[in-house]
């Protein structure tokens, strides 16, 4: 941060700040609050005079970084970007940083959509007709990808890739970020029926591999399958049912892996590792009625209670008593 606030610099000397008009209460002079309210006083002045300048643009950035959900500032910034004919690629970079700081701001995601919409409308022709192959879900005008010359198709593919990669970064932080998923659907649809629809399926496969209960990824899968270029054919329905069967992994699948981990000193103290083993042995004891599995389950519970996770000692001891109700063959 600058040592001198912008409003104390000579290039701002000609602006008369407009203080907030809501009552006579003077501000308690806490440094940050004063800084914020002074900044807002200048912002009001710039808004009222409708100044179109570099410093006005810079001021919107300062205000946004202080308070990213202040929607009026975003609109002001969009007007200025257009009036000053700014390079929007730089703006996208800044948005990338802003959204990593504020992943749940409606305004930041909308701003990105406005920019990408604008950039694409300059580079690519828009189609006002609804695509014939798309399902009835899509009614907004989209880009007729297949009718474009190869150079424009490439431009579209490049833009889509940048956007999808950007969104994927946000989803790595929070795989259920509603804004990120909404914007992702907009990007996929806006640029028409390009190859990204097919690629999206393998992206979703990866997310479901990590977390089979990721309801956002399942929703996206439904969206792709039901609105994608191929449509909801019988063959696709059969493929999807097949995937659902594969998605159910039995717990026993990770037994060997977990037992292997125990032998490594770095992992041996993990409560997650040992509680997973407890679950595995418990399930084995219930399903196969093996006395050995039950006794392994009990020693995991004892280990967790006494050594590995004593803060939840009462829980693990309770869990151990629950194990007593399992009947096994002698």
């Amino acid at each position: 941060m600058d040592e001198v606030p912008f409003y104390e610099k000579p290039e701002w000397a000609d602006v008369v700040p407009i203080p907030q008009d809501d009552g006579p209460n003077p501000l308690v002079p806490i440094a940050y609050t004063k800084d914020y309210s002074t900044t807002m006083d200048y912002f009001r002045a710039i808004c009222r005079s409708e100044e179109q300048s570099e410093r006005a643009l810079e001021l919107t950035k300062i205000v946004i970084e202080m308070c990213p959900s202040h929607y009026t500032v975003w609109h002001c910034r969009q007007r200025l970007l257009k009036a000053l004919n700014k390079d929007l690629t730089d703006e996208l970079e800044w948005i990338k940083w802003m959204s990593s700081e504020n992943p749940k701001s409606y305004q930041i995601w909308h701003h990105r959509q406005v920019l990408v919409d604008h950039i694409s409308s300059v580079l690519l022709p828009a189609s006002s007709a609804t695509s014939e192959t798309a399902s009835s879900l899509i009614t907004a005008p989209t880009i007729p990808y297949h009718e474009l010359p190869e150079s424009q198709q490439k431009a579209a593919r490049d833009m889509v890739k940048v956007e999808l990669d950007f969104i994927a970064t946000a989803l790595e932080e929070d795989s259920k970020n509603y804004h990120a998923w909404s914007y992702r659907q907009w990007v996929l649809t806006h640029f028409g029926q390009g190859p990204w629809w097919e690629e999206e399926l393998s992206y979703i496969d990866g997310l479901l591999e990590l977390d089979v209960r990721n309801n956002s990824a399942w929703n996206q899968r439904f969206y792709i399958v039901s609105t994608g270029p191929q449509g909801f054919t019988e063959e696709i329905v059969r493929r999807e049912i097949e995937i659902l069967h594969r998605a159910k992994h039995p717990l026993s699948e990770v037994k060997e892996f977990c037992e292997g981990l125990v032998s490594r000193t770095q992992a041996n103290f993990s409560p997650f590792l040992h509680s997973t083993l407890l679950d595995i042995y418990e399930q084995e004891a219930k399903e196969q009625k093996k006395a050995e599995s039950l006794s392994k389950a009990k020693s995991e519970a004892a280990l967790l209670a006494e050594k590995i996770d004593p803060i939840r000692k009462k829980y693990w001891n309770w869990k151990k008593t629950q194990l007593n109700s399992i009947t096994v063959e002698a």
Partner: protein, 334 residues
Amino acid sequence: MSNLNDNDSSPPLEPALPELLVDQHVKYIQALDTKKNDLEYWLTEHLRVNGLYWGSTALHILGHPDALDKEQIVDYLVKCQHEDGGIGGHIDHDPHILSTLSAVQVLITYDRLDAINVDKVVDYVVSLQNDDGSFSGDSWGETDTRFIFCAVMCLSLLKRLDDKRVDLQKTIDYIVRCRNFDGGFGNSPGGESHAAQVYVCVGTLTILGALHHVDADQLGWWLSERQLKSGGLNGRPEKLEDVCYSWWVLSSLSMLKRRHWIDAPKLTRFILESQDTETGGIADRPGNIPDVFHTNFGICGLSLLGHPGLVAVDPVYCMPRHVIQRIGLHSDKH
């Protein structure tokens, strides 16, 4: 209480249900506008009009309609109306449908709709409809089913649903396109089901008399699955419970006449345990810092649950039921 049986088979006694701290909540809301030395006050500047709606609604439901200065509120809201008829989130902020609806709700609650230019509000709302039947949030175009509900509720409260410039059949068609395979609704066609988006879509269909587009059994089940062991409700599967979903989920269940599908005593306990016993106000979940948004939706949730001592709330408009009756909108449908 007398003679507790010393019987081993009796279930363990639950701790006593916390009391609803009416007086503390009233003081908490009254003090909100005096916290100008808090950073939070300035960072929420764009939500000031929404904040007034949350605060004044909570006070009305708590049975303290006079706890804020009515004339001061009316004067302030008048200053937030723009030339195009829309109302901004604060003085000098651009108009937006979210703050326009909040202002209309507050003015109707205080019976002071005469203070603003209603025809112009209608002009503004009408101007936000898109060709596909949806509504944008402001003149800059962000579209979301939330904004549709705000627009439709606004026109309904102002008795202007018959305005010839809007096509509400298209709006119904758009909402139907937002319906998902699980019976729920998202923010746009194809968007994931989310309890708050369900509320706005079901609310829109209720106001427009088109609830037959909803499979009430399927959606009712999805909504009741939102209740977790703590008694609280979440907004989507595998997410944490949060007091504000007491409103989004419970109001939707009310409109679908399936409020009894969830465990009301457990939800009541969850909301009451989310109260801040030191400062007043209700947080998103027990132990967190309260705010006026969760305070309002917690109290309105308790009202829908029939908690004693509270004024009845309308499940569609989220305003006192007697106000909705006064303006002649209430029906016994829910």
